[in-house]
Amino acid sequence: MAKVSQIPNLDNSPLNLRSLREQSQRELVNILKNVRGKKCLVIDPKLSGSLSLIIQTSVLMEYGVELRHLSADPLETDISKIVYLVRSQFELMKFISSQVHNDISKGLQREYHVYFVPRREVVCEKVLEEEKVHHLMTIGEYPLYMVPFDEDVISFELDCVNKEFQVDGDTSSLWHIAKAIHKLESFSGLIPNVRAKGRCSVRVADILTRMQTEEPVNSHDMGIPEINTVILLDREVDMVTPMCSQLTYEGLIDEFFHINNGSVELDASILGAQQQEGKKMKHPLNSSDKLFKETRDLNFEVVVQVLRQKATSMKEDYAEMTSTNQSVSELKDFVKKLNSLPEMTRHINLAQHLTTFTSKQSFLARLNMEHTIVEAESYDICFEHIEELIHKQEPLISVLRLLILFSVTNSGLPKKHFDYLRRELLHSYGFEHIATLNNLEKAGLLRKQESKSNWLTIKRALQLVVEDTDTANPNDISYVFSGYAPLSIRLVHHAIRSGWRPMEEILRLLPGPHSETKRGGFPHSASSESMSVAGGRVADGRRSLVLVVFIGGVTFAEIAALRFLSAQEGMAYDVMVATTKMISGNSLTESYVEKLG
């Protein structure tokens, strides 16, 4: 049985992501080699997820590594060389300091190395200095700016870009994003067209230009750049889409069971494994799994049918096999098919498990409500529904998610309702959530209405709500939400097809500025006005590439819609997605939650 690895196979990637990953592997191995002998590698838990997509744990072991996760607790190990691998975050600095202090108090003399990911930062070292441990550390960097999640998906693994930018005014991530794109350019050549929409995106485009003047990517050695256009899009521009429940297979798995670093963790029994009850099992979800590649982006309704068909046809084959005499080659074919049986069983089990959630009345009611809100034609019904959810003390995140959707589509709530719902929230969930409410207000996600909403205009102009969506044979991206076409992807589609110019009026209705830049001097590239169909070919016949960067995260459903677009006839480009993080409405909402208590 061919087990699907959590490290995705990148051979079919339109960009050379493999060499990117290999570089990251090498860099990590070099760090381990630099510290001779046995060492205890203490990893920031968030990073260990990223690393699991870069390198096998067994490889780390070869370099005499004992693995630990960094936490506030003292470090229990006999090894005297400690290597910390951490993101540049205050909290983690405190953990390190407390571990070191603990060692000192026990009289342990250890050798400490701190490797910052992706780079050392003054502010973190300052914390180490204030904690009086800085002089004990050898400090280094592990420049991991991005992690390939799949053939066509890269993540910068930045957790709360939106919250940090909107609420704290912290723009650290923007520099990181620009640096990552700039690094990508050093592999693939200077990207000639840059289109950006949203405050963050425009800033990233600026920083990218600065980086090019500071440390130019030499475009002359590389010939035609592999990436023709980068489209930068702020999550802030479209907060509606992530708040809607995703209805693709992968999207639903994420909504209900959470996909972390390309794999989902479930009870072993659900995945059909013969193991003891209650044991959790990781199931990788990436395009190396052929059946998953085929089904991940379909509307879940259809997935059930597809799986059923596959099972039936296999059953028929089997019947045929037992009844008639078969040639050897036919037998071989059959055996080959049988090989995919375990995969199929797993997906059938997974889909079945998922159905028990999707058929719940509460879920259907929720979908119904989301559609009503997006339609934006029955304010009172929506308001009362949300009010009731609060009174029933439904889980806070799911309530906030609907409330954000409601507020965003209405450009905020009338003051009376705004104050009323906030009060009800505080009464029901506790006053500690005042900070959450404050964050949401600062971010503009839950706020007082100040002007009339332009959502209806946007919805109409971009045809966001599509009647009669055929989920089985879709002809529009709206299939991913059974009738709602994600705003973000509509924008990307326009940007690819004709640039920003023809749609400036609509763009102005959406948050943040937009920009369009042309860089370098490439005689072959298409004019900035439109990238014509012919313009998008690289010499060897492959389609050239559009890199879509989501600043603030992207959902699986949106990626599905992009893949759908890319597969359409007349589409001149391959699409590659880069995101600061894979998100769902829940995780995005959670990033704003801050309990005072």
Binding site: E121, W175, H391, R423, L426, H427, G430
Partner: protein, 846 residues
């Protein structure tokens, strides 16, 4: 013939030829080597000369003060300086790899000079023991030294870049007579352990000192006493001059390879290896070249003192008047110029001669060597490389080029390459530059190192040209030039100097203006530094420098522009440390990014300071939030929570927060919330006292009500409800669910009858269904007003028929479809829904 005259200058040693062409006539005047101490760097390096204070010399018309003079290899004076260091006699003097002159005096002090005769700070010492014992001898290798003291102790510096002296293993010398006759070291890079190895001629034998380990080699193997030792560069061979005039060459296991009986039993003044294959010995007015494995030798007579400089491929012989280079004649040269040679290369060379004289013999020669032509061409090119004489180089290259014309399969770039190399070599051999590198030395040294040496000697133009010519990065050269220019141009105005500098710096893309600016700052030209740093495109270089020259505000601006928050923090911490708080607040308040980054940091680390900031900038609501947050921290801290006063300080904080909120117009909501929070805590506290259960504090209002009801304390529940004006709607949901939690169905029913529930009977139905009490649910389902809701409720308790009835009442086709789905297992029920749906669609109702 020309060929003959060339070979006439050669000497035969066994089967090899040696030659020693004169490279330079020394340009210096009145330098007598015998009166001076000399240090001469290999690879055609500079010569340091200082009057030898261990000899008694007559002073002519000169000052009694000693001068240290530095010449290039052609005797052109580079610099001079007066020597007036204390510490006794100068014992050892040698050049390091990066051309620093190391001088070690009797008391073990190490003085360092650069090629410009400037003494480098600081001075180092070989250590206290050396100081007390006096150094009597120093033996250097490329980057280190071993010193011998009067007490017979050995001290070592491994690397002059990082001078740390340590003591080597003790040989156990007790009396002056036991001091070694001679000493040699092997460069640590050729020893496996990486430690230096010292060889001492002591008594009858040899002593090896390896850091701590001391080994004595005596008796049969070494029939000493050994008077002089010399080691090959790679540390593989040893030449020992014995007390009886024997020269013995041996390997490192002290197995003799051959010996040569010299005429004199007096040890030679100098003894060096000539490359790896012969040994050169010098006695007053005679040089003796002894070849390997035979008794043959070559003798040269000098009527003036000479100084021998070992190179990797020969020996340079410095005398008062000339610089010669003794080397084995290269094979290619031999094949061409050897008398009577008929090698293809020789014939080719001859052919060119005939060709020049328009003789038909040229063609004849070519025919003779037809098949060996490429080999002949190669030999001519190679031989050209070994020549110091430019016209002979040309002739040889012309011969190669001539041969190449008739040869189809030859790498044509070879001639080009060689011409290029020779142009570089000839340029640096020019007496004004005075670096007489042979081609092999050049290849060993490498072009970048040569350029670094030229720069070091301030030959910027030449090094720029060479690096340009060789297609190398010119950044190093221009950068060094710019820094040297700044140092040398104290008379220039800033603006004028800036123009001169920019003019050249522009030549090199990506050059670090910041580094030049840093140098300007170090040279005390802060204004020039500021002007230069303005041109630096890389913010990461620019910003730190701006800080170091005190331009904080510009630094902050540039950091913010760059978008690199790390730089912003760098500046921020710098200013924070330097300026008083209020001024600091003013600076950052004007710059949103700096302000926000400061707040982010301070939130985690400097709470009180952050409060000051918010207060000073009038952001009262932020202070209020901070106080409110603190109130929870108080709550969590067990130290602060003792008995009833526990909530006192906490509530006070919240009230303070409430008041602060109240001071701004925009925060009435928060103000009200804080007020309610304080009130809630008080009530919860009362509840805990009354119920003697610590379960209320820090739960929400709704949870408090639920808990009261669950505990059966309706009075308190109602009190909380009234205190906080909880709406009837919420009250019903809370109470219903709370009663269902404790399964108090009677109370629930009673509650449903109190009055008509403001939210209908849905809460009752839902609570019962969730508690899995079908019977209880059925009490309320019929009371649901909306038939659709009723249908769903019936469906949820599994009553298909009733659900169908209600659904048909609702006339909702979609609902029917959904219900059918949920009854899919039940055939009877699903057919029921099918019928109903058919009927509906028949009626034309959607």
């Amino acid at each position: 013939m020309a060929n003959v005259s060339v070979a006439a200058e050669w000497q035969l040693l066994i089967n090899r030829y040696y030659r020693k062409p004169e490279i330079y006539q020394m340009r210096w005047k009145h330098i007598d080597l015998s009166r001076n101490k000399i240090a001469c760097a290999p690879f055609g390096g500079p010569i340091a000369v200082i009057r030898d204070d261990s000899k008694i010399v007559q002073l002519y018309s000169e000052s009694a003060l000693r001068k240290l003079r530095i010449f290039n290899s052609a005797g052109v004076l580079l610099s001079e300086t007066v020597w007036k260091h204390p510490g006794g006699r100068l014992i050892g003097m040698s050049w390091t790899e990066d051309q620093t002159l190391i001088c070690i005096v009797q008391d073990g002090t190490i003085y360092r000079y650069n090629i410009h005769g400037e003494c480098l700070d600081p001075n180092y010492s070989m250590g206290k023991e050396c100081f007390e014992q006096n150094v009597i001898e120093c033996v250097f290798w490329a980057n280190g030294v071993v010193c011998l003291t009067e007490a017979g102790k050995l001290f070592c510096v491994m690397d002059f870049k990082e001078i740390k002296s340590f003591k080597l293993g003790d040989v156990g010398i007790e009396a002056e007579e036991e001091l070694p006759h001679c000493m040699a070291v092997i460069d640590p890079q050729y020893i496996a352990s990486g430690n230096v190895r010292v060889l001492l001629g002591i008594g009858e034998g040899i002593v090896i000192v390896d850091e701590d380990e001391v080994t004595h080699i005596e008796g049969e193997k070494v029939q000493g006493p050994v008077q002089k030792i010399s080691v090959t560069r790679d540390g593989n061979w040893l030449a020992c001059f014995m007390h009886d005039g024997r020269l013995v060459v041996m390997n490192m296991n002290f197995e003799a390879l051959f010996q040569y009986q010299c005429e004199s039993a007096l040890p030679p003044e100098q003894m060096v290896w000539c490359a790896m294959d012969s040994v050169l010995l010098y006695w007053d007015d005679m040089l003796l070249l002894v070849g390997p494995s035979s008794e043959d030798s070559v003798r040269y007579i000098y009527d003036e003192p000479v100084f021998l400089i070992a190179e990797c491929d020969g020996v340079r012989i410095l005398s008062n008047t000339s610089m010669e280079f003794l080397q084995m004649v290269p094979d290619s040269t031999v094949s061409i110029f050897k008398i009577g040679s008929t090698s293809p290369a020789s014939l080719l060379f001859d052919a060119l001669d005939h060709f020049d004289r328009r003789s038909a013999k040229a063609d004849e020669n070519l025919r003779l060597i037809k098949s060996a032509l490429p080999e002949a061409v190669e030999a001519c090119i190679d031989a050209a490389g070994h020549e110091f004489d430019a016209s002979r180089q040309q002739t040889l290259l012309r011969a190669a080029s001539y041969g190449q014309a008739f040869s189809s399969n030859f790498e044509r770039e070879r001639i080009q390459e060689m011409s290029k190399t020779l142009r570089v070599l000839n340029a640096v051999r020019n007496p004004e530059i005075g670096i007489p590198l042979s081609i092999q030395q050049y290849k060993t040294l490498t072009a970048p190192v040569l350029i670094a040496r030229l720069i070091n000697a301030h030959q910027h133009l030449l090094s720029l040209r060479i690096s340009e010519y060789l297609g190398m990065n010119q950044e190093v050269v221009i950068m060094h030039w710019a820094c040297a220019k700044i140092t040398a141009s104290s008379a220039f105005q800033d603006a004028a100097l800036l123009e001169i500098l920019l003019d050249k710096l522009r030549l090199c893309k990506g050059i670090s203006y910041a580094a030049v600016a840093a140098h300007a700052d170090k040279s005390g030209r802060r204004k020039l530094a500021a002007m230069l740093v303005e041109h630096e495109p890389r913010s990461s270089k620019q910003v730190p420098l701006l800080l170091s020259i005190g331009e904080e505000d510009t630094a902050l601006m540039k950091a913010i522009e760059s978008g690199d928050t790390d730089l912003v923090y760098l500046v921020l911490f710098h200013i924070w440390q330097k300026r008083p708080a209020l001024e600091f607040f003013g600076t950052i308040q004007a710059r949103p990014l700096a302000r926000d980054m400061f707040i982010t940091y301070a939130r985690c680390y400097k709470h009180e300071f952050l409060k000051d900031f918010f207060l000073s900038t009038g952001q009262l609501q932020e202070v209020a939030f901070l106080l409110w947050k603190e109130s929870w921290e108080r709550g969590r801290n067990p130290m602060a929570s003792k008995g009833s006063p526990l909530h006192g300080p906490r509530i006070k904080l919240i009230e303070k927060s409430h008041n602060l909120f109240a001071e701004t117009k925009e925060n009435t909501f928060e103000s009200k919330a804080a007020e309610e929070h304080a009130k809630l805590l008080r009530i919860q506290h009362e509840l805990e006292v009354a119920t003697k259960q610590a379960i209320f504090v820090d739960s929400s209002i709704s949870d408090t009500i639920r808990t009261c009801i669950v505990l059966g304390n309706d009075k308190f529940a109602s009190k909380v409800k009234t205190e906080f004006k909880v709406s009837e709607k919420r009250w019903y949901w809370l109470k219903v669910f709370a009663l269902a939690t404790v399964r108090n169905w009677d109370a629930l029913e009673k509650f449903s009858r109190e009055k008509r529930p403001p939210v209908g009977y849905r809460p009752f139905v839902e609570a019962c269904i969730e508690a899995d009490e079908k019977g209880e649910a059925l009490k309320y389902i019929p009371k649901l007003a909306d038939p659709g809701e009723r249908a769903e409720a019936y469906a949820r308790v599994g009553m298909a028929k009733e659900a169908a009835d209600a659904a048909s009442q609702a006339k909702d086709g979609e609902l029917l479809g959904r219900l059918r789905m949920s009854f899919a297992q039940n055939t009877a029920a699903s057919s029921l829904f099918d019928t109903l749906r058919d009927r509906l669609s028949f009626q034309g109702v959607p």
